[in-house]
Each structure stands twice: as structure tokens, then as C-alpha cells.
């Protein structure tokens, strides 16, 4: 079902007390890599926090695989939270655990697999992101790019159908960033996972995104939704043109 909608964002007002975004509407199809982009402070990360249920939006509804993240009953919300994995900007790995322990933590908590199976599965997830040899390392002993890859392995530990990535390229050099882009594409192709990522790295957007939504701080809304190449070639407004014609978009 390639056109199946797995994420629905309907009439969402994003913010904590005052809305920073209003009337946000978009949907994401199964297997898509969907990028949320926009300038600093436009509410990208706030919207992402609403989408993963960390904080409720001020208005509107967000559905993951048909289950409401913020509306509905507690069971709906609990089920919605099992549909995704999330990799944070800093990695957010637990410093007192090795990479293998970090990845096997959700497997241990949510499956009845015996210990050897759990460890093998965690090692396979690390293998998938190219970190199997670093399984016994602690987060403090590896680089920033490796932390982000390990965070993706942990987010993928339970094979969720949706993967949220918060600024995966932030703070990485172009080569490492390109490697991470290839990893995201590989995971999508191998696991068929739907990826939603927040970024403003043009190179990453053009490398991985099937579609993107551009948010705007001034109008507190969406400027455009579409394929990155279409938005670059036929920008609907000056702000989109300015963003996509900075550099690098090819």
C-alpha cells in the first residue's frame, strides 16, 4: 500500500502557551522520507514534539497509523506511542550504558525475547548503522556522528513503522552528514520505514527527502508542501525561493 497515509496532522496549532504555528495540515505516506524545514525559531522542533506526544498541541489532532497522539483515549495514545522510534539531535544515549545496552534496552523492556536473542538483535541493529564493532563502547567514547547513528539504531530497535529524526545532520561535517543521509535512505529501503525528519540542511533535504513542508515564523503557518526539486524550481513565494536558492540545491 504505497499511498497509505501513516501520519496525519490536522489543523494543528503548535506551541506551549502561545501558538508559534497555526492551522498546520499535512499527511505523510508509508515509506516516505518527509522533511519539516524552516528557519530558526519557526516551530519545527515544537511541532515534532507534538507529533511524538511529548507535549500536546494547542489545537488540532495528530494521528500516527490511525491512532491519535493527542486526542482519543489513553489506550489510543499508548498505542500511537508504539508506532514510532525517535532519534534526538544530541543522540540522547544513556551515558552509563554501552551502545549495545542502549539499543537492547527497549527490546528488553517490550519483548519477551531471551537474553541471547535480545543481544543478537541489538548487535544486528548496530550492524545496520555500521557500529557493531563499537557495541561495548560508552557514548562518551564515540564521536558525534556515531552517537547519532547509535541513536537511530536504538530508535529502530523495535522495528517501528515510523522513524522521527530531530536535526540528524546538525553539528556534523559534510562527509559524515552525507554518510548519515545514505544510512537514512538505506534504512528506509531495507526496513520500509516512514521517516520524518527536521532539518534545514539543503544538501540533506535534496539527498533524502521525498517531500517536505516549509514552516514560516512570520506568518505562523506553512509556506509550502511538496517535492524539494519542485519547490526549488517553482517556489510559491519569495521566502521559499530564498531558502532553496541559498546554495547546493541540485
Amino acid at each position: 500500500m504505497p499511498d497509505e497515509i501513516v501520519i496525519k496532522v490536522e489543523n494543528v496549532s503548535a506551541g506551549y502557551e502561545e501558538p508559534v504555528l497555526e492551522n498546520i495540515n499535512f499527511s505523510v505516506r508509508r515509506g516516505e522520507i518527509f522533511v519539516i524545514l524552516g528557519g530558526s525559531g519557526c516551530g519545527k522542533s515544537t511541532l515534532l514534539k507534538h507529533m511524538v506526544g511529548l507535549t500536546p498541541p494547542l489545537a488540532g489532532e495528530i494521528q500516527l497509523m490511525g491512532d491519535s497522539v493527542n486526542g482519543g483515549n489513553a489506550a489510543d495514545r499508548a498505542r500511537a506511542l508504539r508506532h514510532f522510534g525517535m532519534a534526538y539531535q544530541s543522540g540522547a544515549l544513556f551515558g552509563s550504558m554501552t551502545l549495545l545496552e542502549n539499543v537492547s534496552l527497549p527490546i528488553e523492556s517490550f519483548t519477551a525475547l531471551p537474553r541471547p536473542a535480545r543481544l543478537l538483535l541489538a548487535a544486528m541493529k548496530l550492524d545496520l548503522v555500521g557500529l557493531k564493532e563499537y557495541a561495548s563502547f560508552f557514548p562518551a567514547e564515540i564521536s558525534g556522528g556515531m552517537k547519532k547513528r547509535a541513536a537511530i539504531a536504538r530508535a529502530m530497535a523495535l522495528d517501528p513503522p515510523i522513524l522521527f529524526l530531530d536535526e540528524p545532520s546538525a553539528g556534523l561535517d559534510p562527509v559524515t552528514s552525507a554518510g548519515l543521509d545514505r544510512l537514512i535512505l538505506r534504512i528506509r529501503d531495507l526496513q520500509g520505514v516512514t521517516v520524518v525528519m527536521v532539518t534545514h540542511e539543503l544538501a540533506s533535504i535534496f539527498a533524502v527527502a521525498d517531500r517536505c513542508v516549509m514552516l514560516d515564523k512570520q506568518s505562523r503557518g506553512m509556506l509550502a508542501v511538496g517535492r524539494p526539486a519542485d519547490l526549488r524550481d517553482n517556489p510559491p513565494c519569495a521566502a521559499v525561493r530564498a531558502f532553496f536558492n541559498r546554495e547546493g540545491g541540485n
Binding site: S96, I107, L119, L121, A123, M124
Partner: protein, 364 residues
């Protein structure tokens, strides 16, 4: 032997299958054959892939052969993504505790190296603090007065309620405990002397130091440890501002100055608790205060306050040293806070013993 992978190879189903078949699988050897039927598999999650990989790994190690029925390509796809050779040796699948299962000799060596590094670090910090203090005497304007006052408020004014409460209860407890014994000899009036001598010479400073170590020493370590995690200390160094002067000195000075003041409040609260108990036992307040003043020479007061200042200095130094030495992880910050409290208490006890011996020798 035949193994049928379920249509829904989810973690739940694979967990049951794994538990059921693995005892038999481990008994397979050379010449045995395992038929792995994956024809019915509709969805195969990571757990299913782990089982397929584990079977092929065991096949290579134990010598049995696997015959695959794989019309949907599930097994082929798994083996394409994950190279069995990388998982052949048992140690290729690292155990969760691999990094911690070290030999005893290795652990002892590491512990000795850690202690050595800790002692060196403490000495270096002490040296840096001494040099900074001397520079500060020459140029008092270098002291960040606003920060010092802020820490003075946090460690002192904010700690006043708990200090007063504990001091008061200490006085009550001391009075009740001693009054019970003293009454047998008809000398309960001397409870006032005991409370006064105990609080001024020993307990006032000691109890206040324990409160300050638990409250502010740990806070110093946690604050500085968090700043290290956030690279704020690196930022200070690259700005050319020594962290010891900028961060540690205000905290150490605040702790040193605030301790004698807090101790005075603890002692006053303790004496108040004592007088209430004595009055309830029928001893007039005037008699109680008379005994308190008579049994409290100035040397006792000065000794208590001097000890308090030294304890404050120790708490500040240990707290800041642990915070600045913390690793850059969240649990390291917690460890630094714990080490700050434990280290402070150990040093306070040692120094208290030294003071007791010195006071005895000097007949104070």
C-alpha cells in the same frame, strides 16, 4: 528437524518459538539437517531476522546443514543484509556487560590509577586555589562579588530554616537524653552546661557542616559538573577566564564565610530547644541561661566558629574539585555530587579529630 517460521514473525511470536526450539537446535551437530520453512512468512520483523541469523551462525559453528524453503526470499534478504561471518565467533555478539567484565587484576590496576589520578587532581586543584587566593589578596577586585553573594544567599539564607529546625531538635534531644541520666543524681541543672559545651565546642559546627555538605557541597559539584557537560567550562577556558577564579573561588569563599554564621544559628536554636525541655522539667529559664553563660568561655565560642569556617572551606573545596573533575556524562554529575558529600564528610571528621587533639594539647 523442521522449523516453521510463523506468518507473523513478530517479536512476540519469535520469542515463543525461540524458547521452544533452541534447546533442540543446540543439540544438532555434523550430519544433522534443519529444514527452515519460511514460505508462510508474511511479515518479518527484526526478531525474525535475528532467529534466521542465529540459526545460520549455529549451523556454521555446530556443523549441521540448513535446507531453506524460502519462496518469499525472507531468509535470502536477511543474509544479504547481515553477514553471518561477522557473527560466527561467540565473542562476535558482545554481551551487554562486556565492558565491565574485566579481570580482578585489571580492576585493581584501574582503581589504583583512578586513586592516583584523583589525588593528583585534588593537589593540582588545591595548588590552583592557593595561587588564585594569593592573587585575590593582591587584587581583591578580581573576586566576582555578585556571584559570591549569590552563593552566600543560596548556601546560607536558603539553608536557614533546615539549620534552625535541626539545631532546635538537637537541643531538645540532648536535653531529654542527658536529663534522664542526670536526674538520678539530682543534678539535672547541669544539663544546661552539657548542652552549651556540646553545641559550642563540637556539635554546632559538626551538624551545620553535615547539613551544608549535603545541601550545598553536592549542589556545587552538580552545578559545575553540569557546566562541564554543557561545555561551559571549556568556553571559560577559551575565553581566558580560569574556571577556578570564575567558578570555584566564589563558592569556596561563600561556604567558608557562611558556615560560622549558620553555626551560630544552629547553636542558638539548640539552646532554645534545651531551655524549653528544662522548663518542662521544672528548671527556671534564668538558671538555665546562667549555667549556659558560665560554662561557655570565649575560647569555646572561638574554637567552634574557627572549626565551622574550616569545615566550610573543606566543603567548598571538595564540592568544586569534584564538579570540575567530573566526566562529561549525566551519571558522572551524579557521581561527582555523591563524591562531594562523602569526601566532605570524611574530611570534616578527620579535621574534627585533629582539632580535638590540638585543643587538648593547647588546653583550650
Amino acid at each position: 528437524m523442521q522449523l516453521n517460521l510463523p506468518a507473523d514473525s513478530s517479536a512476540e511470536n519469535i520469542a515463543r518459538l525461540w524458547q521452544a526450539v533452541m534447546p533442540e537446535i543446540v543439540r544438532l551437530g555434523t550430519g544433522d539437517e534443519l529444514v527452515l520453512n519460511a514460505d508462510n512468512v508474511q511479515t518479518c520483523a527484526g526478531a525474525g531476522e535475528a532467529l534466521i541469523l542465529d540459526l545460520h551462525r549455529r549451523s556454521a559453528v555446530q556443523g549441521f546443514t540448513i535446507v531453506c524453503r524460502d519462496s518469499r526470499g525472507v531468509v535470502e534478504r536477511t543474509l544479504r543484509i547481515f553477514d553471518v561471518k561477522k557473527y560466527l565467533a561467540d565473542e562476535a555478539v558482545p554481551t551487554a556487560a562486556a565492558a565491565r567484565h574485566t579481570r580482578t587484576a585489571d580492576q585493581i590496576g584501574r582503581a589504583v590509577a583512578d586513586i592516583y589520578a584523583s589525588v593528583c587532581g585534588q593537589m593540582a586543584f588545591l595548588g590552583e586555589m592557593t595561587v588564585s587566593a594569593l592573587r585575590l589578596v593582591m587584587q581583591p577586585k578580581r573576586l566576582r562579588l555578585r556571584d559570591t553573594m549569590l552563593h552566600f544567599e543560596r548556601a546560607g539564607v536558603d539553608a536557614l530554616p533546615i539549620t534552625l529546625l535541626i539545631g532546635f531538635l538537637l537541643g531538645v534531644i540532648l536535653a531529654f537524653m542527658s536529663a534522664t541520666s542526670f536526674r538520678r543524681f539530682g543534678v539535672e541543672v547541669y544539663v544546661a552546661d552539657l548542652i552549651a559545651i556540646g553545641l559550642f565546642r563540637e556539635l554546632g559546627a559538626l551538624i551545620t557542616a553535615i547539613i551544608l555538605a549535603g545541601r550545598s557541597g553536592s549542589a556545587f559539584a552538580a552545578e559545575l559538573g553540569s557546566m562541564k557537560v554543557n561545555e561551559e567550562i571549556d568556553a571559560l577556558v577559551t575565553l581566558g577566564l580560569p574556571p577556578v577564579v570564575f567558578l570555584a573561588m566564589p563558592r569556596v569563599i561563600a561556604a567558608t564565610l557562611v558556615m560560622p554564621l549558620l553555626t551560630i544559628f544552629t547553636i542558638m536554636a539548640g539552646l532554645l530547644g534545651g531551655v524549653l525541655v528544662m522548663m518542662s522539667l521544672g528548671i527556671p529559664a534564668t538558671v538555665y541561661w546562667q549555667h549556659v553563660f558560665k560554662s561557655t568561655p570565649l575560647s569555646n565560642v572561638m574554637l567552634g566558629l574557627f572549626k565551622a569556617a574550616v569545615f566550610g572551606l573543606l566543603i567548598g573545596l571538595v564540592g568544586c574539585a569534584q564538579g570540575l573533575r567530573a566526566d562529561r556524562t549525566a551519571d558522572a554529575v551524579g557521581r561527582a555530587a555523591t563524591a562531594a558529600v562523602v569526601g566532605s564528610l570524611v574530611l570534616i571528621t578527620i579535621f574534627d579529630g585533629v582539632f580535638a587533639v590540638m585543643a587538648y594539647i593547647l588546653r583550650i
